[in-house]
Amino acid sequence: MVTKQVKQLDRVIIRFAGDSGDGMQLTGDRFTQESAVFGNDLVTLPNFPAEIRAPQGTLPGVSSFQVHFADHDILTAGDAPDVLVAMNPAALRANLGDLPKGATIIVDTHDFTARNLTKAGYTSNPLEDESLGEFAVHPVNLTGMTVEAVKEFGLSRKDAARAKNMFALGLLSWMYGRPTESTIAFLEKRFAKVADIRDANVRAFNSGWNFGETTETFVVSYEIKPAPMAAGTYRNITGNLALSYGLVAAGVQSGLPVFLGSYPITPASDILHELSRHKAFGVTTLQAEDEIAGVGAAIGASFAGSLGVTTTSGPGVALKSEAIGLAVMTELPLLVIDVQRGGPSTGLPTKTEQADLLQAMFGRNGEAPVPIIAPQSPGDCFNAALEAARIAVTYRTPVMLLSDGYLANGSEPWRIPDVEDLPRIDPDFATGPNHPLESGESDFWPYLRDEETLARPWAVPGTPGLEHRIGGLEKGDGHGNISYDPANHDFMVRTRQAKVDRIADSLPPMTVDDPDGQAKVLVLGWGSTYGPIGAGVRRVRKAGYHVAQAHLRHLNPFPKDLGEILARYDKVLVPEMNLGQLSMLLRAKYLVDAVGYNHVRGLPLKAAELAEAIGELVAQAEDITVDLVSTGDSKEVSK
C-alpha cells in the first residue's frame, strides 16, 4: 500500500476531453453532480462540436467539459484548466494551448498510436518527446485497464472499451475525494435494462477509483472543502432546464396552460424536450413544421387563452420576425425564447454569443417595440422565465428572453425556491363589455386600455358578447377596427411604444455593487457575462483598486434609474460577446461614452483578460498606474 498524501486546495478546474463519441459530456456531468452533492460551489462549461460524430480521432471531433469547483463562491468556469484529462492525441492537442505551465495532464495512452497521432497532426509522439516538459504528465492506459477490469462480463472489445470514461471518472473522483454513490445509482438506473453494460460501467468506475488509491502513479489526492452557501436545498441545474422549469412555473403561477410551438434548433432544443415531459401540468408542446409555424401556433394558442411560448436560437428569431410583429400589433402575450449562438447565418451552432440583442430590439418591420430580458446565470433562467411571463401577460405583449449557449448548457448549484414565494401572475381575462353606448347598453372594444399599464383587454374565444376581430392591419384606437387614419396611426405607434416604456414603472431599482462608493469606473453587463465580469471585478478589487459593477436584467425598457447611475461614473465599461450592441443602445439613449470590451470567440469572456481591461480604464479614470499581475493572484479570487 502506497502512502498517500492529502493536499488542501481552495479550487480546481478540470477539463475532460475526448472524441465526441467518448462520453465526455456525461463524464463531466457526473463529476459535476458529485461535486454539487459534496457541497462545492461550481460552474461548468461544456464545449462540443456541431457534428454529432465528426471523424474519429480528429481535432474537429474533440468534445470537452470543463468544471470549476471550489470551497468558496465562484462565478466562472475558469479561464484555464489545472487538470486536463485527454482520451486521445486529438484531445490533447486541441486543449494544450489553454493549459497554464505546471498543469496536470492525464492521458489515455491506449489511443496514442501512429495512426491517431497522425490524425491529430502530431509528427512525433508528445508522450515520448520533450514537448510536454512544462506539465505534470501522467500517461495511463485507461482503455487497457478498463477492458481488463470488465473482462468477466463478456462484452465485445468495443463495448468494453466504451466504459473507459467511467474508469477516468472513477480515477478523478478518487483524486478529488468525490462521493461516488450518486454516480453508481445513476449508472444502475441508466443501464437498468442491459445488465452486462450496467455492471461493466459500475466496475470500470470502481476500478478507476481503486487504481487511484493503489497506484504509485498518483501519490497525492486533494481535498476541496464544501463552500459556505446560504441555507436551503440545492441542486445542480443547467440553464435550459431552469428555463423549462421557469415556464412550467409560469403556467402554475398564472393558472394558464402553457403552449409551446417550437422547431428543433441548437442550443434550444432541450427546452422542447424537457417541456414535452410535463404534460401533467397542462403543457402542450407542438413540434412544428418550421420556425414560423412554431410561433404562429403559439400566437394562436395565446389568442385562445394559453400562455404561448416559442423557443429558438438566432436564425429562428429571424424567421419568426414577421409573426412577432403580428403579436406586437394584436397585443397578445407571447414568450420568445432566443438561446443565442454564434452567428451570422448558421454561424457556430454549439458555441455561445450575445449578438442577437439588436435583432431582438429592432429586427422587425415598422416601429415594433418588444420588451427584452436576459438571465445572468444558469439558475437565473428560472426567474427570468417567470419575469418574462409576468410582463407578457400583464402588458399583453410579446417578450424576448435572451439566453445563450453558455447559460443553456452550463450549470451551477441552484437554491431551490419555495413555490410559496414565487410571484403570482394574473391573466385578468375580459369578462364583459367595456364600452358604454348612448343607448345605455354596452359593447366590447378590444383596444380600450388599462390606464396604468396601457394593456388592452384579453378576451378569449368562448366568452359571450366579446366577439371581436384582431389582425395585422392598423387598429383604430379603442374600437380596434381597421383604420388608415394618419393621426390614428401616429397615435397607435406612440401608444405601443409607451406601453412598453411603462413596464419600467414595475421594475425595482438597479443594484450597483460599489462597496466603498469610491469607484470612478462602472462595469455594466447583461446576460451570461455576469460571471466573468464579477470575477474580473474581484481581481481588480483584490489588487486594491476601486470599481463598481451593475448588471442589466431588463434590456428593453431599461430600468428608470440607469441613466442616473451611468452619469455617476467617469467611465463605463461594457463587456459583451458581440461587437458592442448594448454599448450602442446606451450611447443612443444616454449619450454616455460607453467603452466596449468585446470578444466573439464562441466562448465565455476570460476573467483575467477582462480584469486587465478594467484595470486599464481604472488607470485612465484615476490617473494612476494599475498593476494586477504582481499584486493579484492569477487565479479566480473570492470576494
Binding site: 436545498t233 410535463h278 412544428a288 404562429g296 394558442a301 389568442f303 413555490v419 371581436h468 389582425g471 377596427n481
Partner: protein
C-alpha cells in the same frame, strides 16, 4: 344530373363530428347575428360576396354558440373575410393562418375553427403550413378561395394560374406549372378534400356542412371569380350552356356521370392506370352504365380520388370534378395531443403548486443548514 351532393349521408354514421365538443345554442340564430358592423370592401362582382353570404347563411344552421366560432385568415382579398363575421377572428399574416388555427384548435377543444385563405396565401407563401396541417389532421375547416390570380397585389399570376398566362409580371406568358389544389391536398394525406363553386350556393352550403361535420382538417377549394384581374376563369363551369359538360359531379355512392342527359361518365383506364371520360352507351367505344365508377369518398385508399382529381384542366378550365373527393376517418392531432395531457394528468394527481415543488426539488439535491 345536378351538381349538388344531395342525398349524401353526412356526417357518416359512427364518426365523431367536427363540432361535437363545441357548445351549442338552443336559440334559433340568423345570418344577421353573424354579420359584423364593418362595411364589406371587395370589388363589385367579386365572388367573395357570394361565399360570405353563403357562410353567413350557413353558420346559424350549425347551431353552435357564436362565441365559440373562430375565423382565421392570412393575407389576400379573401383574407378580409373574418372582419365581416361577428365571431371571434384573426386576420393574420401571409400564409400563416393554418399555424395560428393549429394553435387555437389544439389549445381549445370547444372551438369551431375556420381558415379562410386564397391560392397565393395557401399554395405559395403558406404551402408548407397547408400540407403539414393536412398531414396532422388538425380539426379545422380550410376554405381556399381559388381565383387563379393575385388580386390584392393587382394581377400577378398565382400558383394555380394556367401556363402561358399573361399578367403584369409575365408579359411573355407564365412559364410556371400550376398546382392542382385537390391533388395537392390528397397527396398531403388530407382526410376531407372537396371542391365547390362560389356561384352555386346550394352546393357550397352542402359542402360546408359536410366539412364542418368532419372531424379533422377539412379542405374545401372554392372556385371564385375575380372580375377585375381574371374575369371568366371559370366561365365553362358557370355558363348554363357548357356547364353540364364541364362539371363532373362527385356524389358518394353514385356512378360518376355528367354531360347533357348524362351522356358521359368515368371509367377506369387500364392502360394509364387512372380514370378516363367515356360516352355512356352500348355503341362502339362507349361504356355501359355498369362500367361507370361509383364514387366512394370513404375509400381508405386515395388512389382513385387522386386519379379523378387529375381530370381538372391545368390550362383554361373546360372540365373539373366538383364535390367531395375524399372523406375518411383518421385520428386528429389536437384530439390526440389533448388525450396525452389528460392521460398524464390522470397519473399525476395533486395540487399544481405541490407538483411544481416536487418537480423543481427533484434530482440530486443537498441541503445547507
Amino acid at each position: 344530373m345536378t351538381t349538388t351532393t344531395e342525398g349524401t349521408e353526412l356526417p357518416f354514421p359512427g364518426l365523431r363530428s367536427g363540432t361535437e365538443l363545441v357548445p351549442t345554442n338552443d336559440q334559433p340564430q340568423t345570418g344577421k347575428e353573424y354579420t359584423s358592423s364593418q362595411e364589406v370592401r371587395w370589388c363589385p362582382g367579386c365572388g367573395d360576396y357570394a361565399v360570405l353570404k353563403a357562410v353567413q347563411g350557413f353558420l346559424p344552421q350549425l347551431g353552435l354558440r357564436r362565441e365559440n366560432i373562430v375565423f382565421v385568415s392570412g393575407i389576400g382579398c379573401s383574407s378580409r373575410f373574418p372582419y365581416y363575421l361577428d365571431t371571434y377572428g384573426m386576420h393574420s399574416i401571409h400564409g400563416r393562418a393554418p399555424t395560428i388555427a393549429t394553435g387555437i384548435a389544439t389549445a381549445r377543444e370547444d372551438l369551431s375553427v375556420w381558415v379562410v385563405t386564397g391560392d397565393g396565401d395557401a399554395l405559395s407563401i403558406g404551402g408548407n403550413h397547408l400540407i403539414h396541417t393536412l398531414r396532422r389532421n388538425v380539426n379545422m375547416t380550410i376554405l381556399l378561395f381559388n381565383n387563379r390570380i393575385y388580386g390584392l397585389t393587382k394581377g400577378q399570376y398565382s400558383p394555380t394560374s394556367e401556363p402561358g398566362k399573361i399578367t403584369k409580371s409575365t408579359p411573355m406568358g407564365s412559364v410556371d406549372h400550376p398546382f392542382n389544389p385537390v391533388s395537392l391536398a390528397l397527396g398531403a394525406e388530407g382526410s376531407f378534400v372537396a371542391r365547390t363553386i362560389d356561384s352555386d350556393r346550394k352546393h357550397l352550403t352542402e359542402v360546408l356542412s359536410a366539412a364542418a361535420a368532419h372531424r379533422g382538417t377539412s379542405f374545401v377549394e372554392i372556385y371564385q371569380n375575380c372580375p377585375i384581374f381574371n374575369d371568366g376563369a371559370f366561365d365553362a363551369i358557370k355558363n348554363p350552356h357548357t356547364k353540364a359538360d364541364a362539371i363532373i359531379p362527385l356524389v358518394h355512392g353514385q356512378a360518376i356521370r355528367f354531360g347533357v342527359d348524362g351522356a358521359k361518365g368515368l371509367v377506369r383506364d387500364p392502360e394509364g392506370g387512372g380514370v378516363k371520360v367515356v360516352e355512356v352507351g352500348s355503341g362502339p367505344g362507349q361504356a355501359g352504365e355498369d362500367a361507370l365508377i361509383v364514387h366512394d369518398a370513404h375509400n381508405p385508399d386515395p388512389t382513385t380520388a387522386f386519379a379523378i382529381s387529375r381530370l381538372t384542366d391545368s390550362g383554361y378550365l373546360n372540365q373539373s370534378p366538383i364535390g367531395i373527393f375524399r372523406q375518411v376517418d383518421r385520428p386528429t392531432y389536437d384530439d390526440q395531443a389533448r388525450a396525452q395531457i389528460s392521460t398524464a394528468r390522470d397519473v399525476a394527481p395533486g395540487e399544481p403548486a405541490d407538483r411544481l415543488a416536487a418537480l423543481i426539488g427533484g434530482g440530486d439535491t443537498w441541503t445547507v443548514v
